[in-house]
Amino acid sequence: MKITVDMAKCEDHGQCAIAAPVAFRMNDDGKLEHDGEVDDAYLDEVEEAADVCPVQAILIGA
């Protein structure tokens, strides 16, 4: 599946990195880094990451 993060919205809360470390990581500067494409096997985790993002910045594509 495709993952898009609206970086204008993202406030580096890091909740996504707790829910789905497979796709989201916080770097040493406290900024979000994420994969653009993740295996569908991780759909549950990635959906949870999108759910828990306080500013709802994460979009999951097909």
């Binding site: 580096d12 809360h13 890091g14 909740q15 990195a17 707790i18 470390p21 990581r25 916080m26 770097n27 040493d28 406290g30 959906e47 999108a50 759910d51 828990v52 306080p54 500013v55 709802q56 979009l59």
Partner: protein
């Protein structure tokens, strides 16, 4: 799988997550969400933060577009009846009455009606007094900002202090009035509350602590706030952030325990009803995360993480009850989590600091909160909460995991 009709009452975060999680739990029958607000589910926390940052635009539809929740494809066929209130329920007959005079019957019911802002019951004009709970509240407040010269915020909890910080950032003179000794005292304890208050004061927000509001002054619109101690504060705009009341009136007459929200068991089943579950701010459930003693006492948790966590469990419970199969057999022990933005401070908490009877500063200096601090809260020797202030997000997982005690199943 189950094909009965599930009605969800309440169309905010809890209602949306309940609909999504019913689908995820295998419910393929019809789902109807009834919500009193005229909007599809939107995100509430920005209302006291980002939404107040740019008061120029107060078109509610544009504001809504900016904070509306994305809805999963699985709920495309869910009917959202917005702008409709459920006025009463007959749980024995599984029937609901709506404010347009229509009736709705269900096989399974989800209670997701959350809270409403409380207002002060004191004499004086009502014009110029605001609350911040809904999108419409925030629009009204934004519209009033342009003409405001002096703001008084009543209440020094999260909504009060966040609103004060947002209005201060816009350049308005802001005074916070509250009855406790320090801001955030009930939620975070006296030392931490005092430290946050000092930080906000240093930035230019005035606090008047330890006093209540006796009345409002002014003809037609609020011009001042009369305090318990006889003082008067000038005010052209007042925001009341004095807590909330549970939206449970519609459930009265069914023999439920509605003394504080809706009492449920650990699986979110409403006690005294069948095929009824409750999620989000309104559900009062025992959480074994906090051990055999504290954890056995049902509590409501007014944090943004709870609607999502409780909806997952409640949906699994309801789907099993509708199918007559056993529900989940592990204890439900979610780790509450909340955040707050106050000027240059980002607070992030796990667990329930409010349950702590003792606190320890693990890291940092309360006099220099901006540089980062970690405080842990304990009760009877057990860790019950962690508060991190300006801690890099990469470290949050470790803080949460450390807190999530062995009894936790997540």
């Amino acid at each position: 799988m189950s094909t009965g009709h599930v009605v969800v009452v309440g169309g905010s975060l809890g209602g949306l997550r309940a609909a999504e999680q019913l689908r995820a739990a295998g419910h393929d029958g019809p789902v109807t969400v009834v919500g009193e607000e005229p909007w599809l589910p939107y995100n509430r926390p920005p209302l006291s933060k980002e939404v107040l940052a740019d008061p120029g635009d107060h078109d509610p539809a544009r504001l809504h577009a900016g904070i509306a929740f994305r809805r999963r494809a699985s709920v495309e066929d869910v009917e959202f009846r917005v702008g409709r209130r459920v006025v009463s329920a007959d749980l024995a007959r599984r029937a609901l009455a709506l404010d347009d005079g229509t009736a709705l019957t269900y096989d399974g019911l989800v209670v997701a009606t959350g809270l409403r802002a409380r207002r002060l019951a004191v004499p004086g004009p009502t014009e110029g007094r605001h609350v911040v709970r809904t999108l419409d509240d925030a629009c009204a407040l934004r519209a009033a900002i342009a003409d405001a010269s002096q703001v008084v915020v009543v209440g020094a909890g999260f909504v009060g202090c966040e609103t004060a910080a947002s209005l201060h950032t816009l350049g308005l003179p802001v005074t916070v009035v509250h009855p406790e000794a320090v801001a955030f005292e009930p939620a975070l304890g006296r030392e931490v509350g005092a430290a946050i208050q000092r930080h906000l004061e240093a930035a230019g927000i005035t606090f008047v602590s330890g006093v209540g509001v006796a009345a409002y002054a002014g003809v037609g619109a609020v011009a001042g706030v009369l305090l318990d101690d006889g003082r008067t504060l000038e005010a052209s705009l007042v925001v009341e952030a004095v807590g909330s009341a549970c939206n449970t009136e519609w459930l009265e007459g069914n023999g439920l325990d509605l003394s504080d929200g809706v009492l449920t068991d650990n699986d979110l089943r409403v006690v005294g009803a069948q095929r009824v579950v409750a999620v989000g701010d309104v559900s009062r459930f025992p959480n074994p995360l906090f051990g055999p003693d504290l954890g056995a006492r049902p509590r409501r948790v007014e944090h943004w993480s709870m609607p999502t966590d409780t909806a997952k469990r409640a949906a699994a419970t309801l789907v099993a009850d509708l199918a007559g199969t056993p529900g989940p057999d592990t204890p439900f022990a979610p780790t509450p989590s909340f955040w707050s933005d106050l000027l240059d401070l980002r607070l992030q908490a796990y667990g329930s600091p409010a349950l702590g009877s003792e606190l320890r500063l693990e890291e940092g200096d309360l006099a220099r909160l901006g540089d980062g601090a970690v405080v842990t809260y304990h009760h009877d020797g057990a860790l019950v909460g962690v508060l991190a202030v300006n801690i890099p997000p990469a470290r949050l997982r470790a803080l949460r995991d450390r807190f999530a005690a062995p009894v936790a199943v997540h």
